[in-house]
């Protein structure tokens, strides 16, 4: 399976190109809310940038918490999000301590699929797509 790895977070310049790539390529919108990867500041621009994105847990608590089956982990390890099943309850958000899941403007969960679309748009090679065992 593929996993998006935050290889060099200390190289981040806070340009948000990855967030715009995620929403542009996966949703067709120009949006921060619809991006599954999030760049946060820690103490403002003069502090450090923090890259928040799904870590691809082997036994994902978000899948267990989802009451409708909208989040599914397949046998090959890849995640499938059934958007039509998501009721916006936010249970997945509560169990993800790293804060990798959010709701978009349509009250649907936004979660990384580890597609790697953002990787090509990081000018400083902060992000890598790696192959990991399922």
């Amino acid at each position: 399976m593929h996993r998006l790895k935050v290889a060099h977070p200390e190289r981040c310049i806070g340009c948000l190109s990855c967030m715009f790539a995620c929403s542009r390529i996966n949703t067709g919108h120009v949006s921060l809310d619809r991006s599954a990867i999030k760049i946060k500041t820690q103490g403002g621009i003069e502090g450090d940038f923090v890259v928040v994105v799904c870590h691809a847990c082997r036994d994902p608590p978000c899948v267990k918490a989802c009451p409708t089956g909208a989040l599914e982990r397949r046998d090959d390890g890849n995640m499938k999000f059934h958007e039509d099943l998501c009721n916006g309850c936010g249970e997945c958000i509560d169990v993800c301590l790293i804060g990798a899941i959010s709701l978009d403007g349509d009250e649907k969960a936004v979660k990384c699929r580890h597609c790697g679309a953002c990787v090509a748009f990081c000018p400083h090679d902060v992000l890598e797509l790696e192959e990991v065992p399922a």
């Binding site: 310049i13 806070g14 340009c15 948000l16 190109s17 715009f20 542009r24 390529i25 067709g28 919108h29 120009v30 949006s31 921060l32 809310d33 619809r34 999030k38 760049i39 946060k40 500041t41 403002g44 621009i45 003069e46 403007g105 748009f121 000018p123 400083h124």
Partner: protein, 577 residues
């Protein structure tokens, strides 16, 4: 596309949104729209620091949708020059305005007590800022960050004590390290009792044809990141010009008494990058990351006790508070830059004012009584620190005069011939030749950025351009920048956004334009700005060029006043004035 103008009346404590499709159809966005709103909102002859003087912010159609289109334009009546005030800032403001759903914001009136504006989508609140009045611009950013919402998507713009105290060249700090620096917007905020504006929102932007959009996006991102068109900004940054202009005899030194500085190598971009640079950050949706931040580590006691300050720097700052003041110590230079940052005052104007004051002090036009014992001497960092404190504090008539700008100060104390302003605005750091002088005179905001005359001089030095050719090049830049500033792109990305690429990018989001359309628009925008300037009393034939410009060698050799006169005549003729 967004077509919304948010109106906020501070006096009446009201706000509302108007759909102004016609304005954006005709004027595209950014500076094109902001100029029209200024013409609508600003009563003729109004005092720039009165409640009747408006503030306009505007973004354009490409902001946030494409890389490096990161700027917001502010339009106002300048308290420094008394005519068109126009300033640009990056940071996250354009993104925050876009996602809040406001392409333009108009601020009218004045608050009856210290206030700040908090905007979340269409929810606008005018909140009490009494507890943060008087607090420096850096710290007030930390405070508002804690009390306001919208982490990661918001923009916080604020003034420091210089704006509150109406220093005529006070600026606004945007999201840390970015600024509406020039022409006194900070004082306009101060005059309205307005300490800050915080904005965020949760809107999306839907593009009509996502496939076409992605294709054009990929092309532009590729040019910005994978070619060398933006290398200069990404590597050493704009400060690479310190060594270059020094070698070309174009680096203003000690109030333009010289154009090469023996200490240039010590304060060069290369030295700052090697010894002080600790990180680079970027504006929202710019993959370049040109914001260079120096770590200034100063010992304040024995036992290895250090203060750490993080100071952003660029070419113009190093010129203004470095070579122009004979400052050759990089740590001292960074301290002076940081003082201006905290007070929220324009570094370029401050450096030119202090350069004039130092020379005037040397020539006994100013007495030690007037400086309150502060030694205004080249390279005297401590003296300059105190002088900056006094410009903001205005403890006597002399420092109050310095707070009015160099032209006003020289009218009072003499030394007009070396008061380095053109049309009331303290000049930028290029003594490259006639195109720089003419460019700053004719440019809509009397800045090096109106038409980059300094760059035309450098070309002319190589190719022997005639006055006609230099003048035509200025006009071409004047007009094309009116279009680019309506988008509102970062001027560092001019090489990415060629005319063809601008047309492509606009087309990808459903705005079809031809080259002729854009040429016509650029010309009309320029003329509209001049309509405002003339209305407020600007007369290009009355601009006096301080003699110093003709006494110091430039990149193109000594400049003959006749060349400048000739170019101005050609300029007026070409414009049909």
């Amino acid at each position: 596309m967004l077509r919304r103008v948010l109106y906020i009346d501070l006096g009446k404590k009201e706000s509302w949104v108007e759909e102004r499709d016609e304005l954006f159809e005709r004027w595209l966005g950014g500076t094109g729209v902001a100029t029209q709103l200024l013409l609508e909102e600003c009563p003729q002859g109004v005092d720039p620091l009165s409640p009747e003087a408006p503030i306009i912010f505007s973004i354009g159609p490409l902001n946030v949708l494409f890389p490096v289109v990161t700027k917001t334009v502010a339009a106002f009546k300048s308290p420094l020059t008394g005519e068109l005030g126009e300033s640009y800032a990056g940071g996250r403001l354009a993104m925050a305005m876009r996602f809040a759903g406001h392409e333009s914001i108009v601020i009218r009136g004045a608050a009856d007590r210290p206030s700040y504006i908090s905007i979340t989508d269409d929810d606008v609140k005018i909140k009490d800022a009494t507890s943060v009045w008087g607090i420096n611009a850096t710290t007030v950013g930390f405070i508002l960050r804690e009390v306001e919402t919208g982490v990661g998507r918001r923009s916080i713009i604020r003034i420091g004590p210089a704006g509150e105290r109406l220093v005529k060249y006070a600026g606004i700090i945007v999201d840390t390290y970015r600024h509406f620096g020039r022409l006194g917007l900070g004082a306009v905020f101060g005059s309205k009792n307005l300490k800050a504006l915080v904005i965020s929102g949760t809107e999306d932007v839907e593009v009509p044809d996502p496939g076409r959009y992605r294709k054009v996006y990929n092309k532009l991102y590729g040019i910005a990141v994978q070619t060398d068109v933006m290398d200069k900004y990404h590597d050493i940054g704009t400060s690479i010009n310190i060594n270059i202009l020094n070698q070309l005899k174009g680096l203003p030194t000690r109030n333009f008494q010289s154009t090469s500085f023996e200490g240039a190598a010590n304060i060069s971009g290369e030295v700052l990058a090697d010894d002080y640079l600790f990180r680079k950050v970027s504006c929202a949706h710019c993959p370049i990351g040109c914001v260079h931040i120096a770590m200034l580590k100063t010992s304040f006691a024995s036992h290895h006790e250090f203060e750490i300050r993080k100071v952003s720097y660029d070419y113009e700052l190093i010129y203004a508070l470095g070579s122009n003041l004979g400052v050759s110590d990089p740590a001292g230079l960074l301290e002076l830059i940081e003082a201006c940052e905290r007070y929220g005052m324009d570094v370029m104007s401050t450096g030119v004012v202090l350069g004039w004051a130092t020379e005037a002090y040397e020539r006994d036009l100013i007495t030690p009584q007037e400086t309150l014992g502060v030694p205004l001497q080249w390279n005297n960092i401590e003296g300059y620190q105190k002088a900056i404190d006094h410009i903001v504090g205005m403890p006597n008539e002399f420092y109050a005069a310095l707070a009015q700008g160099v032209e006003k100060a020289s009218e009072r104390y003499g030394g007009k011939e070396f008061a380095m302003a053109l049309a009331g605005n303290e000049v930028a750091g290029y003594h490259t030749g006639p195109a720089s002088i003419v460019g700053q005179i004719v440019g809509v905001r009397h800045s090096h950025l109106g038409n980059a005359g300094y760059s035309i001089d450098q070309k002319a030095a190589k190719k022997q351009l005639k006055p006609e050719e230099m003048t035509d090049a200025i006009i071409k830049e004047d007009d094309s920048r009116g279009v680019f500033n309506s988008l509102v792109g970062c001027l560092f990305a001019r090489g990415v956004y060629t005319n063809e690429n601008i047309i492509d990018a606009l087309g990808a989001i459903g705005i079809e334009k031809t080259q002729e359309d854009l040429d016509d628009l650029g010309n009309r925008i320029f003329e509209e700005k001049y309509r405002f300037k003339r209305r407020e009393g600007f007369d290009i034939t009355e601009i006096k060029v301080p003699r110093r410009f003709y006494e110091t060698i430039t990149t193109m050799g000594m400049v003959d006043p006749g060349t400048v006169e000739t170019m101005l005549e050609i300029y007026r003729e070409r414009r049909g004035w």
